[in-house]
């Protein structure tokens, strides 16, 4: 018993309160970013410790490290524990959330210029909720943190977003709430399913959810995951929300929040409903593959940078779902390992891209690709960063994304050989990113702009984008840091799913 995970959640939540109170009462709005950055840095430090701890003390398959159990409601007939724990599935996500969190806060300094106290307070609230979601091993508490991340996100999009922010914010909250409400229904179905009644994931997994109780609840929780990831056809809120959210918020919204669902697919979808997951694997793989292609093809058609990145995200999140269910279908843990790795890599790559989209918009006043022509001449640093980040998103070596996609696709092929067709997705992705780069970076400006009107991205901001990308390069070499702790989880899940059918 320690208090590391509690600290991981409480530091950003406390930071949220302190940031708001100190900067709004103190009267210096700008101080909010410093206070928030300090708390975000403290959070990432704890996250790094958690990651290192899990790497060096990887828990046995099916068990968790750094567990804490705080009874919350302990009454006869109804109990909810705040059960915290982490393993090789959640520790990479915790670390990457910490990194994206701190970078998002820091990159807000040059992009957000109104109502800073509330803004930074809400950012830290999201970060705290994210940490809570990734460490909670109780279904109700998991749901609680999941929802807790959505409400501040509504305000972050709705107050600080683009022109159509109100519409996007309302659509976002209605879709995600509806999805998570249906997901909750699936959780509730389990409560009286095992004896003694519990919402604790480890206890439910150990007792084994009765097979009859797996099918409908799996579909219910999947609706929640599918909206959050999002998976075609549950994605309609996502391009609007991603387009309208301010760029630093986007790093969290696109980099971290979909990982709730990716994480939950493996932890809850496969961990608690193995028999149903096995039977439905083909359907989920089909949906995932459709999503991968749909996202990639629609991204090709986008004129707005952010919308293009949004659809890229749909495509990449399809990979996560594909990987998870490839393992279910084949028993080969490679799929889940690849999914975990991809979630880590994707968070950083889209974080960099969306942050850059903010800088591009600030400099050129537009995000429309046709109007951005000549960016390479006018803002060479921005353009270079855009090219490098695009390479990361495409999965060009030395960025780790290619390892992840390779693992997922190989895992998929071992399940259904026909899914080899998915190798086309990275090809399409490469195609539309390169086309975008050609139009934005290489093509000359159509009309003579007023040079010197805006400055190129500042050194600090350029460094922030670079920091997103450095771990991706490092991971290519040190991939074992993520994959070693992930292996037992993947193997355990694979065995569980197959054991359920024997």
């Amino acid at each position: 018993m320690g208090y590391v995970l509690s600290l991981l959640i409480l530091v950003p939540l406390l930071g949220s309160l302190v940031t708001f109170a100190a900067s709004s009462l103190g009267g210096r709005r700008q101080s909010a970013s410093y206070i928030a950055a300090a708390f975000a840095l403290a959070t990432v430090a704890i996250a790094a410790y958690v990651f290192w701890f899990v790497y060096s003390n990887t828990p046995a398959p099916g068990y968790y490290a750094l567990t804490e159990d705080h009874p919350w409601i302990a009454l006869p007939g109804f109990g909810v524990d705040i059960l915290l724990g982490t393993d090789g599935l959640s520790s990479p996500l915790i670390l990457v959330s910490g990194i994206v969190g701190v970078l998002a806060v820091l990159s807000s300094r040059s992009l957000i210029d109104k109502r800073e106290p509330a803004y930074y307070s809400l950012m830290l609230l999201v970060l705290g909720a994210v940490m809570g979601a990734f460490t909670s091993l109780n279904l109700v508490v998991f749901y609680l943190f999941w929802e807790l991340a959505l409400v501040p996100m509504f305000f972050l999009i709705g107050v600080w977003g683009g022109d159509r922010r109100k519409y996007a914010a309302l659509k976002f909250i209605i879709f995600t709430f509806a999805g998570s409400a249906v997901m909750l229904l699936g959780f509730l179905a389990l409560y009286f399913g095992v004896s003694p009644s519990t919402f604790d994931i480890p206890n439910l997994a150990r007792a084994g959810v009765p097979v009859a109780l797996q099918y409908l609840p799996l579909l219910a929780v999947f609706v929640g995951f599918a909206v959050e990831l999002p998976v075609f056809p549950f994605h309609s809120w996502q391009p609007d929300a991603y387009e309208q959210a301010p760029a630093p918020v986007n790093a969290l919204l696109s980099g971290i929040l979909p990982k709730f669902a990716g994480y939950a697919v493996i932890r809850i979808g496969l961990g608690l409903f193995p028999a149903a997951a096995y039977d439905y694997a083909w359907a989920f793989i089909l949906l995932a593959v459709i999503s991968m292609f749909y996202g990639a093809v629609v991204a090709l058609l986008q004129k707005d940078l952010k919308r293009m990145f949004a659809y890229t995200s749909i495509s990449h999140m399809g990979f996560v779902l594909f990987g998870a269910f490839a393992t279910v279908a084949s028993g080969n843990p490679l799929g889940i390992e690849g999914a975990i790795f991809l979630m880590f890599a994707h968070a950083l790559a889209v974080g960099a891209l969306f942050t850059l989209s903010g800088f591009v918009e600030k400099e050129s006043g537009t995000r429309l690709i046709p109007k951005l022509a000549g960016l390479g001449r006018r803002f060479p640093v921005t353009a270079a960063l855009l090219a490098v980040s695009s390479a990361a998103a495409i999965g060009v070596p030395p960025f780790a994304n290619f390892i992840a996609e390779l693992m997922v696709i190989s895992g998929g092929i071992s399940a259904y050989a026909s899914t080899a067709v998915t190798v086309l997705v990275p090809v399409i992705t490469g195609g539309y990113f390169l086309w975008m780069l050609k139009r934005v970076v290489i093509d000359p400006a159509q009309e003579a702009g007023e040079p010197g009107e805006a400055a190129d991205v500042s050194r600090l901001d350029a460094a922030l984008v670079a920091v997103y990308l450095v771990p991706l390069v490092l991971l290519t070499v040190f991939s074992f840091l993520v994959l070693t702790p992930a292996a037992p989880v993947a193997q355990w899940t694979a065995n569980l799913v197959h054991g359920a059918k024997l």
Binding site: L75, G77, V140, L144, A169, I173, I174, F177, L188, Y191
Partner: protein
């Protein structure tokens, strides 16, 4: 042992009867308001002391009133609501009516007295008298804005339908007495369940459901509610939603849910059982309430329909409890469901109290209850807007606020039973409700004020009242254990378990 309940009754009676005479002495200020607040406060403390003493004593003539934890819970709840309404009325009832304020507060005490007596009634006639004692003052209160045609219309509509519901209850009581020969609620309920071969028994049960359902504003007996809520002074709308409505629930629990029926209400129809009837009402109530709320343009009407929808959620607990009465296999679920229903009843009073009083403040200050007036409210009236937003988030069931836990318990209780579809309906309705709760929050915080942009002063008393209610929303959400435990202790023993 002290008779705390009689102390509460005495305190409220003295205030109700004495306050009107104040107008001969103190024409100035809110003296009558302060007196009634004191009286309700004393009554609340007396009931709290009664709850703490764990007394189970019975009152006059042995069997009209009895003290139990269910009664304590509802008496404290309704008195708490009356207290908040009285305090808020100090600033919310416009000054042009202060000449009549002694009567306003007197009527409020009468209604509070009626709600306390309903909570403890163990006799059908006592229940009926207490019901009238609660209802009749509220007809007058609904029309208290004498100059307003809308208020008068609301009062008349409410009074006519209220009289109809009282008559329905009285008819049900007479049928019950004719069948069972007793007016004791427990004895009559036990006996009614065994008389179901006689169709009159089924009719009596349904008439009770209709009569109480009117006050609970469950669909299709809800038509009066939006008009009355809109026409009445807003604190009185809060009293309707958070107070008198709850009296309907306790009456339903005491009379209808005590009936253990494994068989159909009418001979020959297997589906026409009490839990099934309640389940259909629950579905209709939550769905129609939410759908109608989506289309409202006035805040009080929106709150009225939201209040109707919440009654639908509460009925889910009643359904499973009624089912568990006859099916011991579902006793665990039945107890969880009823505890969830009681918890949601408490939460709903807190949430709706906060929402109505905040809305009342806005209506008073801005002179309009239209949703347009709420545009950009976050900057103009930060306290009212924040209270509304918090109560809306809680009503929508956002964790970790109080409404989340009670809905969680309600939905969990039915999900592995034949009524699982109610949990599905409840969850879908919750998602639907985000449409209007989120819409109002959007208007308050994301939209710009339409005309006047200047900040509006918010009185200190209202800030305190709203602050306490919002604090309760948060505290009950973060530390729900004690309240759930209170609710669990108030769940009446299941007939299927006690034999």
């Amino acid at each position: 042992m002290a008779d705390y309940i009689l102390l509460a009754v005495a305190s409220l009676s003295v205030a109700a009867l004495g306050v009107p005479f104040l107008q001969y002495f103190a024409r100035r200020g809110n003296a009558s308001g302060y007196l009634v607040i004191a009286a309700v406060g004393v009554a609340f403390l007396a009931i709290a002391a009664n709850a703490a003493s764990g007394s189970t004593s019975a009152y006059p003539f042995g069997s009209l009133l009895a003290s139990d934890s269910l009664g304590n819970l509802f008496a404290m709840l309704t008195l708490g609501v009356a207290l908040f309404v009285a305090v808020a009325s100090l600033s919310l009832v416009p000054s042009s009516q202060t000449a009549n304020s002694p009567f306003y507060y007197s009527l409020l005490s009468f209604a509070a007295l009626g709600m306390v007596l309903i909570s403890y009634s163990t006799d059908l006639l006592m229940l009926f008298i207490a019901w009238e004692l609660m209802s009749i003052p509220t007809y007058a209160l609904a029309g208290f804005k004498k100059g307003s045609a809308a208020s008068n219309e609301a009062a008349v509509k409410y009074a006519i339908l209220g009289a109809l519901s009282s008559a329905t209850i009285l008819y049900a009581i007479s049928l019950t007495y004719g069948l069972t020969g007793t007016l004791g609620i427990a004895a009559a309920a036990a006996s009614l369940g065994s008389h179901l071969s006689n169709p009159v028994a089924g009719i009596a049960i349904l008439l009770f459901v209709v009569g109480f359902g009117f006050k609970m504003s469950i669909v299709p007996f809800h038509m009066w509610a939006p008009d009355a809520y809109e026409g009445a002074p807003t604190p009185i709308a809060a009293l309707f939603a958070a107070g008198t409505k709850k009296a309907g629930f306790v009456a339903m629990i005491r009379v209808v849910l005590a009936i253990s029926t494994a068989v159909a209400l009418t001979p020959g129809s297997g589906l026409f059982t009490l839990p099934n009837v309640l389940a259909v009402l629950a579905l209709a109530t939550m769905t129609l309430g939410n759908l109608a709320a989506l289309t409202q343009k006035s805040m009080t009407r929106l709150l009225a329909y939201s209040s109707i929808a919440q009654a639908g959620y509460i009925l889910i607990g009643f359904v499973i409890y009624s089912y568990g009465q006859a099916n011991p296999a579902f006793a665990q679920q039945a107890q969880l469901g009823m505890a969830g229903a009681l918890f949601h009843i408490i939460n709903h009073s807190v949430m709706k109290g906060a929402a109505f009083l905040a809305a009342g403040l806005v209506i008073l200050k801005l002179g309009s209850g239209s949703l347009d007036a709420f545009d950009g409210l976050g900057r103009r009236m930060p306290i009212a807007a924040f209270s509304l937003a918090m109560s809306f988030l809680a009503l929508a069931g956002v964790p970790p606020l109080n409404g989340f836990w009670s809905k969680l318990m309600l939905f969990t209780s039915v999900i592995n039973t034949p009524y699982a579809w109610l949990a599905v309906a409840g969850v879908l309705n919750t998602a639907l409700s985000v449409g209007y709760y989120g819409w109002v929050i959007k208007r308050m915080y994301l939209d710009e004020p339409g005309g006047d942009q200047s900040p509006v002063e918010e009185p200190l008393t209202m800030a305190l009242v709203l602050g306490v209610l919002v604090a309760l929303i948060v505290v009950f959400g973060l530390e729900p254990g004690p309240i759930i435990s209170l609710a669990q202790h108030a769940v009446p023993a299941l007939a299927s378990l006690t034999g």
